[in-house]
Structure formats: structure tokens, C-alpha cells
């Protein structure tokens, strides 16, 4: 992870993509979101979705996985260049999550993140908070998910005045 001081509003990263299989859609739904339209092709065909679709939570959780894998590759490259790596902190939450279109078996979702706000907090001297708009687009270019999340990022300049 970059240090907080190096993060700029407007910068964006293409994080990578994930292909959802029928097996993974059903397995996730069985554990966490057992609605008929996530579990069974025939029940999904009778539902308003028309065919099997992934739990929206799975689409969101997969953003997290793809993001973590991307940050890990970045950090490995930084270490390879002998550069320091900032710690990614906890997240206070997210807002405005929209499931814009269903994700069906065989769909490949490309995830992206864009910085919309970054600021320091008096109550967390070693950290800054970064707000990002996250999105996922399927192989036809159709957006399927969008949300704004926040996360604490380590500051290089710990506990001193914001630059």
C-alpha cells in the first residue's frame, strides 16, 4: 500500500477480474445467502431474475479479494525496489452500494477503485482515511456493482500536522 501522503483524489486502479462459476455461486449462496434464485437454475428461471445469479454479497466480497491480491502484488514490487510499504488499516464501513445488474454463471467481472476523498483525523494520528468509489463491470461492459468505502491508511508522517 502507498502511504497516505502519496494518495491523490482522482487516481484509479484497475484491480483485476474474476469469473463466477455456477458452482461458486451455489456454494456461496448455500453458506450465506440461501435464496432460491442463487441456489438452483430451475427456481431462478421461475424468479424475476430469469436465471441463476450470484448473491450480491458474493460480488461485493470478490471485490475485496481482487483488491487484496492487487495490493499484495504492488507491495511485493515496492519491496523489490527497496521501498517501504504502508499498512492498510481497518475500514469503518461503506455506503451507496448498488447492485446494478445481475451476475450470472460464466460472467467475468472487472473491478476498479477510484479515490474520491482523503483526509487526516485528529483522533487517529498515525493514520489517514481514504474514501474510494469501487465498481465492477461485466464482459459486456455493463456495470454490475458500485459502492463507496472508506479505509484507514498508514501515514509516513506519524502524528504530526497534515502536509
Amino acid at each position: 500500500m502507498k502511504f497516505f501522503e502519496d494518495i491523490r483524489v482522482g487516481e484509479a486502479d484497475d484491480l483485476g477480474s474474476h469469473t463466477f462459476t455456477a458452482e461458486s455461486i451455489k456454494a456461496f449462496a448455500t453458506r450465506f445467502d440461501p435464496q432460491p434464485f442463487h441456489l438452483d437454475e430451475e427456481a431462478a428461471a421461475r424468479s424475476h431474475f430469469g436465471k441463476l445469479c450470484a448473491s450480491g454479497w458474493q460480488t461485493a466480497c470478490m471485490w475485496m479479494r481482487v483488491m487484496i491480491d492487487y495490493r499484495r502484488r504492488e507491495d511485493d514490487e515496492r519491496r523489490g525496489r527497496g521501498e517501504p510499504v504502508a499498512q492498510l488499516g481497518v475500514s469503518p464501513g461503506f455506503r451507496d452500494l448498488q447492485w446494478l445488474a445481475p451476475v450470472h454463471a460464466g460472467d467475468t467481472i472487472a473491478y476498479r477503485t477510484e479515490v474520491v476523498e482523503a483526509r487526516t483525523l485528529i483522533t487517529r494520528p498515525g493514520w489517514g482515511i481514504v474514501f474510494v468509489r469501487n465498481s465492477g463491470v461485466n464482459q459486456h461492459g455493463v456495470p454490475v456493482i458500485s459502492f463507496v468505502s472508506s479505509v484507514f491508511v498508514e501515514r509516513r508522517n506519524k502524528g504530526r500536522q497534515a502536509p
Partner: protein
């Protein structure tokens, strides 16, 4: 035909959706698949992270909430999904062995203007942890089918019906309420 429809939810209603214990094994298994960060994977590595110990991924807490909600309420409701989530706040860490209870609060209910057979119910869900404070709070506008005219309720209040259904599901699914 499901027991619960849009008509069974009304503003101000509070529904107890049962409780369960979250294990270390499920925290680590979820993290390995969806959120492989040290604080969710390994006690030793988690010691050096901001919260100083193994904690569940925030996404995992949402998924636990979703499953408890499905078992308690949605399983027997004409639930049609949700177009999104207004807000999720991760308020406190969720640790291995912690007991969580799910509370659903109905904030608002309105019929759909474009689809007469459907209505919206806006909920705040709170997963209450060991300190009796929410570990996660989630606001969502859910869609439910409306009750067919032939099945209108007569003798039982909607509120009683919802709580009964939640309790029945919790018992049926064998969820511990200790």
C-alpha cells in the same frame, strides 16, 4: 406460499432474529477465500495489526448477518432481493468465539409505484456482539411481494406473525439461543 409478505412489516417494528456463536474456523475460512489479510487469518500476525488480535472480516460479518436473516425471516417470506445497501458501519471488532444476536428494525415501508405486486421495506439490521453493542449496522431497502388478495390476514396481528415466523425458523434451523 410463503407466510410473510410486504404487508407484515410496518415502521417501528423490532424483530429478534436469533443468535449464534462465530467460530475461529469460520473466520479463518472466510478470510482465506475473500479477505486474506493477517488480522483475519492468523493470531500471531494479527497481534501486530491495529486491533491487536484475530478478528472477522467486516464482509464476513455482513455475510453472517445475511445468513441469520435468511434463516429467521426470508426463508418464509416473499423476499425479492434488494437493489443495494444504503450503509454498512463496522462498529466493533468481531472476535473468535463471540456470540452475536441479530435485531431487525423496520424504518419505513412503502408500496412500489411501478410494480403493484411488490413493496419496499427499509430495515436497519444490527448484529449485536458480546458487549451488547452492534459490531455491524446495515441499512437496506428490501423488496417483498404483496399478499395475494384471497389470503388477507384477519385474526393475527402482522407484528405477532413476523416474530412467530422468526422464532419458528430459528428453532427449526437448530440455532442456539443460549
Amino acid at each position: 406460499m410463503p407466510r410473510l409478505h410486504w404487508e407484515d412489516f410496518s415502521s417501528g417494528q423490532v424483530i429478534d432474529c436469533g443468535a449464534r456463536v462465530v467460530t475461529r474456523e469460520e473466520i479463518v475460512a472466510f478470510a482465506a477465500e475473500y479477505d486474506p489479510q493477517p488480522m483475519h487469518l492468523d493470531e500471531l500476525a494479527a497481534r501486530d495489526t491495529p486491533l491487536g488480535g484475530l478478528i472477522a472480516s467486516g464482509w464476513h460479518s455482513c455475510c453472517i448477518l445475511m445468513r441469520m436473516l435468511s434463516d429467521a425471516l426470508l426463508h418464509d417470506a416473499s423476499f425479492l432481493g434488494a437493489p443495494g445497501i444504503e450503509e454498512v458501519r463496522w462498529l466493533a471488532p468481531l472476535r473468535p468465539g463471540e456470540r452475536v444476536a441479530l435485531r431487525a428494525i423496520v424504518l419505513e415501508s412503502r408500496p412500489s409505484r411501478s410494480r403493484p405486486g411488490m413493496g419496499f421495506v427499509k430495515f436497519r439490521f444490527e448484529l449485536i456482539g458480546a458487549s451488547d453493542k452492534p459490531v455491524v449496522s446495515l441499512v437496506v431497502n428490501s423488496m417483498f411481494g404483496r399478499r395475494p388478495a384471497a389470503e388477507q390476514q384477519t385474526h393475527q396481528s402482522a407484528e405477532r406473525q413476523v416474530q412467530d415466523a422468526a422464532e419458528q425458523q430459528v428453532q427449526d434451523s437448530g440455532v442456539a439461543r443460549s
